[in-house]
């Protein structure tokens, strides 16, 4: 188990001489990543299933009028904002879950958290009927419940391993998705709006949704960032963390709350999008190593890059229709899972 975690390239503290230049390089890299994000956000507004000339894009952004192209651009803005929030939320949540469970395969989708959140959203929408805005609150109990059940089922007497947690996640997801399908078939009116949301889609969201989700994402991100240092210690194991004078229990609870908020907000807004939480931390670790103080900010920046990029791709490849972003991220992210297995990172 420990070999699996230390395999994720711990930073080398034995080289103090290089540490300053390393910090500078990482900071520069983060800046470059932000630049990439800006570029991707611009693409998210400019490119879509309906081709709009660049001049009209600029016109629609700066001085929107009643033209059709302006309306198209206006509809892409909340979508891109949502991609920003959801991408950051999923990637950071994935990184935190991987650190917390000391499991390189941590991902809200694989561990059943997304399925739990979507189950409670569908149940609440079907039987209580609250609007989209309050679904973030609706998503939280399901997310927590699924996380707890997966953890209990996946932790045998001999402790948990990545594979056990993943299998438990698959089993719990199967049951929860069956519940979701049953409810959505029993209530066709729910099913209609659910079809796209069920795969994970950024399409058709309003600025109102973005505003409501933003609060959850910001609070969750801050909570996770605050725990970054302590998460480094947790990854060394409970005993090591305690002997370093930290309280691993408190760290774990707070970080889990942060990650759950992020997952719930992301699912409520965009549906269960898988593999962003798996792929982005895996890519980022190649640059930053396992230090959460760099890992989490990088994830927060590069998560949206992947998500918005996937969304743009989904709009382009299936013209005139569009492919839900959740399907694209599965294509992009699943190979990382296979690669992790092949390299033996999961302790198999």
């Amino acid at each position: 188990m420990t070999t699996a975690t230390t395999a994720t390239r711990a930073p080398q503290p034995t080289r103090p001489r290089g540490s300053r230049s390393r910090t500078a390089a990482l900071a520069l890299g983060l800046l470059a990543a932000v630049g990439l994000l800006v570029l991707m956000a611009a693409l998210g507004v400019a490119v879509g299933s309906k081709p709009v000339p660049l001049g009209d894009v600029w016109h629609g952004l700066v001085s929107p009028d009643d033209s059709y192209n302006s309306a198209v651009i206006a509809s892409r803005i909340p979508r891109t904002q949502l991609g920003l929030l959801v991408g950051a939320a999923l990637a950071v949540a994935g990184a935190v879950i991987q650190g917390l469970t000391r499991n390189p395969l941590g991902d809200p989708g694989l561990l059943g958290v997304n399925a739990g959140a979507s189950m409670s959203v569908v149940l609440v929408t079907a039987f209580v009927g609250v609007g989209v805005g309050r679904t973030v609150w609706a998503a939280i109990p399901g997310a927590v419940l699924a996380a707890v059940v997966v953890y209990v089922v996946g932790t045998g007497r001999a402790g948990s391993t990545p594979v056990r947690l993943i299998l438990a996640g698959a089993a719990v997801s199967a049951v929860l998705v069956a519940v979701v399908q049953a409810v959505s078939l029993a209530k066709p009116d729910v099913f209609d709006s659910y079809r796209f949301w069920a795969i994970g889609s950024l399409a058709g969201r309003t600025a109102e949704t973005v505003g409501q989700v933003a609060w959850f994402v910001v609070v969750g991100l801050l909570l996770c960032f605050a725990m970054a240092r302590a998460l480094n210690a947790v990854e060394l194991g409970d005993q090591a963390a305690t002997s370093l004078g930290l309280a691993p229990g408190r760290t774990k609870v707070l970080a889990a709350i942060g990650a759950t908020m992020l997952c719930a907000a992301a699912v409520a807004a965009a549906g269960p999008i898988g593999f962003v939480g798996l792929a982005v931390p895996h890519i980022v670790r190649a640059f930053t190593g396992a230090d959460h103080r760099w890992l989490l900010p990088y994830c927060a920046v590069l998560g949206p890059v992947l998500l918005i990029g996937s969304d743009v791709l989904g709009r382009v490849i299936a013209r005139p229709g569009e492919l839900m972003v959740g399907a694209i991220t599965a294509f992009v992210g699943a190979p990382f899972l296979i690669a992790a297995v092949r390299r033996g990172r999961v302790g198999l």
Binding site: L105, L110, V153, G154, G156, R157, A158, T161, P162, V163, R164, I166, L167, A168, A170, A171, V172, S173, A174, V175, V177, A178, V179, Q181, A182, L185, A186, I199, G274, F275, I317, A318, G321, E322, L323, M324, G326, A327, I328, A330, F331, G333, A334, P335, L337, I338, V341, R342, V346, L348
Partner: protein, 377 residues
Amino acid sequence: MRGPKAGATTGPTTDGPTTASGTVTARAGTQRVVQLGGGRARGPWLAVVVHPRPVLVCLVFLALAAVAALATLAVGELGISLAELPGVFAGHGTRAQEWALFTSRLPRLGVAVLAGAAFAVAGAIFQSVTRNPLGSPDVIGLGAGAAAGAAAAALVWPGFVSTPVGALLGAFLAITVVYLGTGRGFAAPHRMVVVGIAVGAMSLAFVQLALVRASRESAQEVALWLTGSLAARATGHVVVIGVALAVLLPAALALTRTMQLAEMGDDLATGVGVPVRASRTLAVVVAVLLTGAAVSVCGPIAFVALTAPQIARRLTRSSGPGMVAAACCGAVLLVVADLVAQYALPGIIFPVGVVTAGLGGIYLAFLLVREWKRVAV
């Protein structure tokens, strides 16, 4: 009196006393040896070890299947009473009754029985090859791969290959990716599971792509099929799965013996003369063909392949991959699940895949907890 182990032990097994009459039943522990022909001098020309318990379990499964089948045929919006049923079969019913029976319910029942058996045998093979109940086709993404292949054949490149062929190609592609993805072939079941989850996710993503590109009507039809549905099956579906099963079930039975030996471990099995690699490859091919055929007629119905062989194995208390018991169990499970899906909630008909996914997922969780109490994964 050919039990599930029929063909498992052929050859001159002479455990018990032989008489000149030819057919002898002798007890050796919990198993009986049935011998045919021959005399005291030459020995019997055929001797079959029959375990009474698996035979009993199979008979119980068949009885259950018969009850569930009668219910499937009789119950419905247009009820056909059990007394009327033979009459309608003979062609003396009303037109509505005949339509309901021959066009709707019989194909549905046929697909349920045969596809359930096919899924279960495929599951039994895979669980035996990976020596792990979790290595079943559902968990390692085979069903999803077949679904993606079928969707590709039906929606993306229509007319290029037929849907069953597409499902087969998809299943083979999925198993190839799983095989290559683990880095150790089929020797690492847990790696197979994780890679299979990735393959399943990619397959479902591809299916979504196919759905988006398709017209709305065909997309809705395929979406229903994708959860696994037995609604609106035609006689053609029964023929496809029936032919597949007729060819592949004997092949699976013929492989049972070597697979049972291979379960002891590669080295030991090679030591006693079993061509482990060849028989494993052959078994996987048979299982993939079975899965592809079943998926092409009723969609990737979840977890029948996982649960049926496990239930059968526990009830028969046998060590090998009891194919016949698994097949009977799969048939019962799918027919009963279909009844539940149709009539559990009045007014709502679920696709049967929803029912099996819900119940099967719970069973999988139960299996995980049980397994991990005993052994470390």
